[in-house]
Symmetry: C2
Subunit: 332 residues, 2 copies
C-alpha cells in the first residue's frame, strides 16, 4: 500500500501523542513548533544523527532500539550541560524497504525514551534516503549559573565518571558476533548498546554543585572525550583508573585485549565526565553515592602538562585518543 | 590526507565564524549550544533535511548551493511563522568521496545564507553516510501575538502568495536538461532552484497584521500546500488565479504543459501563502506593494465546502494536490 507523506506524518503523530510540557504552544503539523521558554533559564540545543550501517545495522538493533538510541544520545548531550529536556524534532531519511509499520516501531522507541525524560517530540521532516537516517535536535533549559561546559576544567581538578565504561562496545561486539557473552554480561551489554540511559538526573545534580567545573558526556570513548575536555580547558589529563563494566571485562578477555584499553576506546557509554575541585571531590562523591545509590568513579586529574597520559602500574605513558572517529580509516 | 573528525569540525567552525547574535552564549564545540531567549517572545523550531539524489544531485547543484538551499528551507519555515531567525544546528552525513574542501564549500553556502538572515550556526554532528545528507534545525523568535499558523484560516478569507510560482521547478528541469531555458528565464530559474530567498521580511511584516489569519510557506507545491492550509483550517479552497513565474511559463511551453498546472505542482518556491480577512485584503496588498515594491498576489478564497477547487475559465473543477510527496510513486 502506498501512503501519502501526510498520512505517514498523521500516523506517527498519533504515536507521539500530545505534548506534555505546558510550555509547548504548537507541536507537530505546522511549519514550525512554538514554545514559551522559561524566563529564568537559558535554552540549550544539540543535534545527533544515526546512520544505518555506520552507527547500527538492522541486525544489531531493532527499529525501536534505533529510535531509543538517537533520543538517548540527544538527552545525554542535554544532561552534560546540566539541562532539563524540553522538546525535540526528528528528520528521517527513509529507504524504500522501510514500511510504515517499521517507522511506527522507530517512533515507539523515540516516544518511550522521550517520555521517560519529559521530552516532547514537536516536529520533523520526512524524506526518501538510501539508508535509514535519523537526525534529532533537542532543546533543553538550564539556569545560567548551572550551565557546565567542556572548557571549565583547571589543572588540579579531579576527573570522574558517573559509571563504568565499555558495556555499549561489548554490546555491539556481541550483536555482531565478535564475542559471545552470556547471562548478566550479555544482558548488561545489549541493554547498554540498545537502550542506553542518559544521565539526566545526575547531570542536573552535578551541575548544581559549584565545585563541578566542567562536564561532558562520554559518547565517543573515554580517551577521545577526555582529550577533548582537556584540550577545551587548556590542560592535560592523567588517567589513573578506568572503571570497566563487567560485560566489557568479559568481552576484552575473549578478545585478548586489555580491559582498560577496551573501555577507554569504547564509545556510546553516555556516562558523564566531570572535572571537580580536588579538595571537594571526596565530599561530592560521597553525597553523589548517597543520592544515586552508586559511586562517582574517580578517573584521574587534570594537570598543566598537555596531553593524555595513562598511569600504568606506576609508569606514566602518553596514549592516543582511541575512541570513535568517523573519519579515521577503519581498523576493524 | 586523512583528517580527524575534530580537525574537520575546527575547519568548518572557522568558516562559520563567531556568533553574531548577542543572545548566543555558547556556540560550536561543546556538547550543546546555549542561548538566552528573549523574555518577550516565544521560541520557534523547525527542521529540514536534504538528501543527495532525492532533493538534489551534484550535477544540479554545487556544494555551496546545497548549503544555501537547506538553510533557505529552514529560514522559510521560520518566515512562515512570522519569526526572526536566531540559530541553527547542522547534522551532516558525508560519503567518502566528499573531501574537506567540498565540505568547506557546503559550509560557505550555509554561512552565506545564514549571515544574510542573521542566523548563527551554533553546532552540529558529523557522520559517515552513503550519500550527502544535510539535516538542519533552526530556532527563531516571535511575539506570541504575531505567531501565525496553518490553522487560523476561515471561510471567506482571501488567499494570496508573496510571489509568482514555478521558477524553482523550471530551474530543476533546466539543470536536469528536461528543458532548455535562455537569458533571463534561465537566470531566474536557476537562481530560484539553487539560491532561493526565504521571505523573512515579508513574513514578519504580514504576521504583524491582525488581518492575516493563517500563513505557511509554499515548499511542496501550491496545490499540495494550499490543501494542507485548508485542511488545517477546517475549510476548502477555491483557486481563481495562479501567478506563474516567467521562467516557469517558458518551461511549461516547452513541455506542452499548462503553465498554471506546472506552477501548481512546482515545489520549493519558498513564497509565503497567507489567508487574510477578505475586506482587509485590498488595503493589505496595497501596503505590501508600497513596502516591498512588488505585489501580493491574490490566488483565491477559503470557503466552507471542503476540497481543492480550481476555477478554470468560469468552470469549477476539483483538483488533486500535485506537489511534492516523498512517498508517492515516482511519475517522472
Amino acid at each position: 500500500m502506498t501512503l501519502r507523506e501526510d498520512d505517514i506524518v498523521a500516523h506517527l503523530e498519533k504515536i507521539i501523542g500530545e505534548p506534555e510540557n505546558a510550555s509547548i504552544k504548537l507541536g507537530i503539523g505546522d511549519d514550525a513548533a512554538v514554545w514559551q521558554p522559561s524566563r529564568s533559564h537559558r535554552s540549550v540545543v544539540t543535534t545527533d544523527m544515526l546512520v544505518e550501517d555506520v552507527h547500527f545495522t538492522r541486525e544489531s538493533m531493532g527499529f525501536e532500539d534505533i529510535g531509543w538510541r538517537v533520543t538517548a544520545a540527544n538527552l545525554s548531550d542535554l544532561a552534560s550541560m546540566g539541562a532539563r529536556p524540553v522538546l525535540a524534532t526528528v528528520a528521517l531519511g527513509i529507504p524504500s524497504d522501510v514500511d510504515v509499520e517499521c517507522l511506527a516501531r522507530l517512533y515507539r522507541g523515540i516516544s518511550a525514551c522521550a517520555r521517560s525524560a519529559k521530552l516532547d517530540i514537536v516536529g520533523g521532516d520526512l524524506s526518501r534516503a538510501p539508508v535509514l537516517t535519523v537526525a534529532m535536535s533537542a532543546v533543553g533549559e538550564v539556569r545560567a549559573s548551572n550551565c557546565r561546559t567542556r572548557s571549565g576544567g583547571r589543572a588540579g581538578n579531579a576527573v570522574a565518571v558517573t559509571g563504568p565504561l565499555g558495556a555499549s562496545r561489548a554490546g555491539l561486539d556481541a550483536a555482531r558476533g565478535k564475542v559471545t557473552l552470556q547471562g548478566s554480561d550479555r544482558d548488561e551489554a545489549l541493554q547498554a548498546h540498545r537502550r542506553p540511559q542518559a544521565r539526566l538526573r545526575e547531570g542536573r545534580w552535578l551541575a548544581a554543585s559549584a565545585n563541578v567545573r566542567a562536564m561532558m558526556d562520554c559518547s565517543d570513548g573515554l580517551s577521545t572525550d577526555l582529550a577533548r575536555l582537556a584540550e577545551s580547558s587548556g590542560v592535560g589529563v592523567l588517567i589513573e583508573d578506568v572503571p570497566v563494566a563487567e560485560s566489557a571485562r568479559a568481552a576484552a578477555l575473549q578478545l585478548r585485549e586489555d580491559a582498560r584499553d577496551y573501555a577507554l576506546a569504547g564509545g556510546e557509554d553516555f556516562e558523564l565526565i566531570v572535572a571537580c575541585e580536588r579538595r571537594a571531590f571526596a565530599h561530592l562523591a560521597s553525597r553523589f553515592e548517597k543520592h544515586f545509590k552508586r559511586p562517582l568513579y574517580r578517573v584521574g586529574s587534570l594537570r598543566s602538562e598537555p596531553g593524555l597520559v595513562l598511569a600504568d602500574k606506576g609508569v606514566e605513558r602518553a596514549i592516543a585518543p582511541t575512541g570513535w572517529d568517523h573519519f579515521k580509516p577503519a581498523t576493524g
